[in-house]
């Protein structure tokens, strides 16, 4: 713990007075199903098992973002500015703007899908913005087993069985659990997404803005290391099977190119960040 504080202080001092050239990076998330854009409610898709489905809700946390430079060194986005909640239903949340990324050449980015254990176990005072359980994060939190829901995917499938609680063939995947704290141990469904820029020259230039398109594909969500069937597992929340889904969605993010222009219709992203 002492070491941690020392490190923290050293870190704080190292930044003082040194103005590094920096630009801004927009990570633009596009949620898709294979080659098709995700459209909520009205569009039907088919999973690898041939089951049809529509999606009514998709939202997930992206946090602890880290860029990898060409020389292998890394730029870690400051912790407090590194929490974002992407909601398919709110286009403005699908752009993550990082204002001060040091200028340079980058080969990839990685981030946590969810909220790291340290923040999940932290004092309520450092849970603002999208982590505010009484605000933006209200529907992404389990009170009964204290922790954030990392990924929420809901929809309907004719193959999902009808029950009293789910009269319209609904399916629900709410994946969370950060491993617990102290003697309380839970499953750990935190997964790191590693997005390689595939040899594309991604340069961040001083004072300029670079938009990187990241594709989040639901096909790997349903079929990667495990095939998820709506008929077999229409509802997965805090159960051992949630690990399989987390393993699957770990590989759903990929690089989809540099966007030459900032999408005009989208307002700047800031509301759902920590600051």
């Amino acid at each position: 713990m002492k070491l941690f504080f020392t490190a923290l202080l050293l870190f704080a001092f190292s930044g003082v007075g040194i103005a590094q050239p920096a630009g801004s990076v927009n990570l633009v998330f596009s949620n898709v199903v294979g080659n098709e854009n995700l459209v909520l409610n009205n569009k039907q898709y088919t999973n690898a098992l041939g089951e049809q489905f529509t999606v009514t809700k998709l939202q997930y946390y992206v946090s602890n973002i880290c860029f990898v430079r060409k020389d292998g060194s890394e730029y870690v986005v400051p912790q407090d500015e590194s929490y974002f909640l992407i909601r398919e239903s709110m286009p403005e949340t699908k752009q993550v703007i990082l204002k001060a990324v040091p200028a340079g050449e980058y080969t990839g980015v990685r981030f946590l899908i969810g909220v790291d254990s340290l923040r999940s176990a932290s004092d309520i005072s450092v849970r603002k913005g999208c982590l505010d359980v009484g605000g933006e994060g209200k529907d992404m939190y389990w009170a009964w087993n204290s922790g954030y829901i990392f990924v929420k995917l809901e929809g309907t499938s004719p193959q999902a069985p009808v029950t009293a609680q789910r009269p319209n063939h609904e399916f629900m995947y709410h994946i969370g659990l950060f491993g617990g704290i102290g003697v309380k141990s839970t499953l750990n469904n935190l997964r790191t997404a590693i997005v390689d820029f595939n040899n594309t020259d991604v340069r961040v230039k001083q004072g300029e803005s670079t938009s990187i398109s990241i594709r989040a594909d639901l096909n790997p969500f349903f079929n990667s290391t495990t095939s998820i069937s709506f008929a077999q597992n229409p509802v997965v929340m805090a159960s051992p099977f949630s690990q399989k889904i987390a393993d699957n969605y770990q590989s759903m993010f990929s690089f989809a190119g540099i966007l030459l222009k900032k999408p005009a219709s989208l307002p700047p992203k800031s509301a759902s960040g920590m600051n």
């Binding site: 050293l10 004092d123 309520i124 009484g134 209200k138 939190y141 617990g180 309380k184």
Partner: protein
Amino acid sequence: MQFKVSILVLSGLVFVLAIFFSARTKAPLFNVPENFPVPEYRFAHNPLTEAGIQLGKTLFYDALLSKDNTISCGSCHQQASGFTQHGHALSHGINDLLTKRNSMPLANLAWSPRFGWDGGVHDLDLFPLVPIQNEAEMDESLPNILEKLRKTPEYPKLFAQAFGSPEINSERFLKALSQFMLTMVSANSRYDRAVRNEGVKFTPAERAGWILVERKCSGCHPEPLFTDFSFRNNGLVKTVNDDQGHYDITLRNEDRYKFKVPSLRNVAVTAPYMHDGRFATLEEVLKHYHSGVQHGETIDPLVKRERELGISLSDTEQANILAFLLTLTDEEFLTDRRFAESDLPSPSAINSVPNTKPTLAKTAEWPELMPVAETSFQKNFNNVVASYSDLKLALFKEDTLKASVAAQELLSHLERIDKTKLTSPQQNYYTTYYFRILLDARHIHKTELVQGMTRIMHQRDHFSSLSKSLYPLIRTFKLNTNPMVYRFCQGANQGQGGYWLSNQEDTDNPFFGGLMSRCGLLSNVTF
């Protein structure tokens, strides 16, 4: 550099400690009792202030926290019952829905590393979200509550007093609730005063019980908190709802059917017992450990030694343990005005719907009638009721001295009641209410002066509570030969409402010297 950093770290530490201690020395809002360990709660993150505690208390007792403004934290955590929901195996929440478990007592929360029967919550600050979101409890969301609070005229002021600005947010809301709950320290039972040598001595039975508890129970219920905060399977018979407790959180097979070890403090008033309230009395609990423990895969080794299930306890041992457990009742805690709903400066039900009906009138909550035919019980109980009538008359006449005498008589008649002549279900039912009657009658008798209240106010407050306990006994045991009326006066006790029992002709209101008009709403049930 290393040197500089060390100085910085050190001065930072000194600063944090200074804040912590200055807050404590100025006003001892939270004291660690002499015989207690260091608390778990990180007070440095949430320094207690008087205004913060007061805000927390107002929130705790405000039904605005529930979807239809009918249920407050205090609905299921009642002070006189050690902050449990009295008489309910499973707690009743919104729309009278039954929850999955028995509400846990609230006391000494500053020392608890985990919360809830299943241990799903690691931080007291986060606990209120559980009942708020639970569909059978408050069925509300935090954003909605914050919005409701922002719209009241009172709360922005209270938040400003507590936190320096009227902003109402999640952190402030949750931390204020924590501040209030943290002050609920129970450490003044007879046991505490005996171990601290404060002039209290155990009786031989209590002492024997104490030694037995140390020998046979302290593996899970160690002093001074009387819990080790662990999760254990104590060998309960499985029930249809198959609640697996701690397993729901950890999903580890070894945690199936394990539940938090509750503290034994105030255990005499927190009936019923276990996570589902399956045992109505402490006698049943002791019987369970002696002869009711069932084998299970995750059974705790402390209740299964080799092939022997349970903890062998002779009848005398059980009686002695029981005597000791009663010394853990902290009357000061159970009646402390700092925690009492009726002590709120303004009826905090700021936006809440007042509870307009005597809650016990709902037939759904009544057990089956258990008429008592045993004559000595009837006779002694009738004497209790006669003293009660004297007490009521004295309060009607605002004669605190006569009220005190009547309460003393009531207590002496109560002592003569021999419950062993009753059937076992009757005994359980009786014990549930007996302790509350005892507590209230003692307070009325003592007429000690409580800050902010006159004697008559204090007596009337306890009289209402006493009436609420007497009513179910008379009704369920069918002890009245003539019809009686259970009455409710909404304006009584500074707007908290007052209950009393009378015969049909008698309309003397013990709360306002007969001025029924001051009640606002009046209601009654004849039985």
